[in-house]
């Protein structure tokens, strides 16, 4: 159970309702993800993620300097 520091009932309830693990978690993960990563190489996924993270950091820095 997640007990938030401010006792957020909303968050605790939401998290609890999702913390269920399937009998076959690997199968469940692959069924959930479905075609999301289909046809993409792992190296490309990793590089895309890191590029997106760098872009997010630049946007964040831009927002802060505008503030």
């Amino acid at each position: 159970m997640v007990v938030t520091a401010n006792g957020s009932a909303w968050l605790s309830c939401r998290v609890e309702s999702f913390v269920t693990v399937d009998d076959d978690p690997l199968k469940a993960v692959r069924e959930s993800v479905g075609p999301t990563f289909e046809g993409k190489e792992i190296d490309d996924l990793r590089e895309d993620a890191r590029t997106a993270i760098a872009g997010e950091a630049r946007r964040e820095a831009g927002r802060k300097s505008e503030a």
Binding site: V2, V19, L26, V29, T36, A49, E60
Partner: protein, 133 residues
């Protein structure tokens, strides 16, 4: 048995059934305990997220199952990641916003100082602006 650290590639191979490494991953999972970091999960979530459409799947159930296979090093970190996943399913937040929000909500009484207005209007978060909005 001491766990082996796995990085983001391993998470992708867990999730991708069409990946040639998926059988290797299954062997590792069967043979030795593995652990990863919040950083690896953050990269995984960023790769699955698109700015226009968000995620194609419900994040929290996926994360719960992923954590059963590839845990983090502490229960506190797992709670934080599940909280972030919950934010992603419930709010229009980017993966990084959700992780920041989860840190604030689970460890800092919901108080967050920052200029990003993405956190506003949420009952469990109290954003205090870095500068006047």
């Amino acid at each position: 048995m001491t766990a082996v650290y796995v990085e983001t590639d391993f998470l992708f191979a867990v999730a991708k059934s069409d990946e040639w490494l998926s059988e290797e991953v299954e062997s590792v999972l069967a043979e030795e305990p593995v652990e990863t970091s919040l950083l690896a999960y953050a990269e995984f979530l960023v790769a699955a997220y698109t700015e226009d459409d968000g995620f194609d799947f419900e994040v929290a159930p996926l994360v719960a199952n992923m954590l059963d296979l590839v845990p983090l090093s502490s229960a506190e970190e797992e709670e934080l990641l599940l909280a972030a996943a919950t934010y992603l399913d419930s709010h229009d937040l980017t993966p990084f916003d959700a992780l920041h929000a989860a840190h604030a909500a689970t460890r800092y009484g919901g108080v967050l100082i920052g200029s990003d207005q993405a956190y506003d209007g949420r009952s469990d978060l109290d954003r205090r602006p870095l500068t006047p909005d």
